[in-house]
């Protein structure tokens, strides 16, 4: 079946008609006291991680600048870029959920910085991500589907360096700065936030213009290597992690165990990604902060398909499925559940089929 991911297209209407726009998502039963303990917020882990993140960015950037114009500066720029273009994605995500810090203003400050780095309007992406959680990989409803079917490998390759995402982000920023909210955004962003979006875009455009002006005036790459370009040259880690979240799995189902993937990762990637490799757990229980996800994983794993054991294991499973989805968009990976698990809750799409 062809798919139309346009939020205003026919698949959006048919998702409603099929009963896929609902709160009837499967959740692993967990004792309320246990869940309450898991949801409990603290400031300390995120203050520590944020201090390390910005400290490393400062050290890498200072070292890179000191070594310019030598090529020895390149590894330091690349390291800075990954923290800017990838770690800021996970900070955007966690602080957008309001779960990283206990103190609300801390979430807000890091959220605003991360949104700027990722070229994502804070309001649009707040509402858009809420929709992603309501209607995860429901075609025509979810604005954050990273790999659409039929799969286009060229598009995926272009996004490894953020080309399509950045073009889209910059286009939207310019439209916002001109006073326009795009029709797809109007579908999920409350009208009371439109003025904020327009004001934010104007401030951001001024910052980017000043950065480019500084690069021209000083005849130096340094300003744009610090601000803006790392969104391109440093986003590969975010993209590689992001594809694993839902790639090759089911769409139009009401069970996150069918459309999301948990992958064990090395400690460095988990720091950059803030534990979003526990992605089934995150979608099922989005109030649980990133530092409690490993604990949640242990509690839920009897009810989940086996996690992928590494990046490589995840890609070994996902890439053949994506290759097949180039020609066969209905194909998806259906992973077996352990005997201790409740059956998959496929929802009305399965009943119709």
């Amino acid at each position: 079946m062809p798919r139309d991911y346009d939020l205003l297209g026919p698949d959006a209407q048919s998702a409603v008609a099929k009963g896929l726009v609902t709160e009837d998502w499967y959740r692993t039963p967990i004792d309320r006291k246990v869940m309450k303990a898991l949801m409990k917020r603290a400031d300390q882990p995120a203050i520590r991680d944020t201090g390390v993140l910005f400290g490393l960015m400062a050290v890498f950037a200072a070292t890179a600048i000191a070594l310019m114009p030598s090529w020895w500066s390149a590894p330091f720029w690349l390291a800075y870029g990954v923290l800017y273009g990838s770690a800021m994605d996970s900070r955007w995500h966690e602080c957008g959920h309001g779960s990283a810090f206990k103190t609300r203003w801390m979430n807000m400050v890091v959220y605003q910085v991360a949104c700027f780095c990722m070229v994502r309007d804070p309001s649009c992406w707040k509402f858009g991500h809420a929709r992603h959680h309501s209607d995860t990989v429901i075609v025509g409803r979810d604005p954050e589907v990273a790999i659409m079917r039929p799969v286009d490998m060229l598009k995926m390759a272009a996004n490894l360096v953020g080309i399509l995402d950045v073009i889209d982000g910059v286009k939207r920023m310019i439209r916002h700065a001109a006073g326009h909210i795009l029709p797809d955004e109007a579908d999920y962003v409350a009208e009371s936030f439109h003025a904020k979006t327009i004001r934010t875009a104007r401030i951001w455009l001024a910052i980017y213009a000043a950065t480019i002006a500084a690069a021209l005036v000083f005849q130096s790459w340094i300003p744009v290597l610090l601000i803006g370009l790392p969104r391109l040259y440093g986003c590969w880690h975010m993209v590689l992690c992001g594809w694993l979240q839902h790639g090759g799995l089911a769409d139009n189902v009401l069970d996150h165990r069918m459309n999301s993937r948990t992958v064990y990762m090395n400690p460095v990637s988990r720091f950059i990604y803030w534990n979003m490799n526990y992605h089934v757990e995150h979608h099922m229980f989005p109030l649980v902060p990133y530092y409690k996800l490993p604990e949640l994983h242990e509690i839920c794993r009897h009810d989940f398909p086996a996690p992928n054991t590494s990046f490589l294991d995840g890609y070994a499973q996902m890439l053949p499925a994506l290759w097949r989805q180039r020609k066969d968009p209905d194909f998806y990976l259906r992973r077996p559940l352990p005997e201790t698990a409740n059956p998959y809750h496929e929802g009305p799409a399965a009943k119709a089929a």
Partner: protein
């Protein structure tokens, strides 16, 4: 006409926690804050009708379990989006170890 309805025992709700309370065709939540004050609000988040019974209570606020909208339990006022409409709140009294709600 509003009436006082026996919703639950005080001990049914832990400190900084919430339980569901259904009455007739309507659904509510009974919330107990960190200072043992009790509140009653509509049960469904004003954003997308997610039930608040699985939400997170911090002091006198409740957070929607799905999209993290936070509401002030005393007034029902939205403190963080994506919800934009306030929750309805209902008068509560505690008498003889029971929580009564005027609905």
């Amino acid at each position: 006409m509003a009436e006082w309805v026996d919703a639950c025992a005080t001990g049914d709700v832990d400190a900084e926690d919430v339980i569901r309370f259904d009455h007739g065709a309507r659904t509510f939540v009974i919330i107990r804050d960190h200072e043992d004050n009790y509140y009653c609000t509509d049960g469904l988040c004003t954003h997308e009708d997610v039930h608040l019974e699985d939400g997170l209570v911090v002091e006198a606020t409740i957070e929607c379990p799905k999209h993290s909208s936070i509401f002030d339990c005393t007034s029902g006022e939205v403190e963080t989006p994506p919800a934009c409409e306030n929750l309805c709140t209902y008068p509560v009294k505690v008498d003889g170890g029971r929580v009564f709600v005027e609905i």
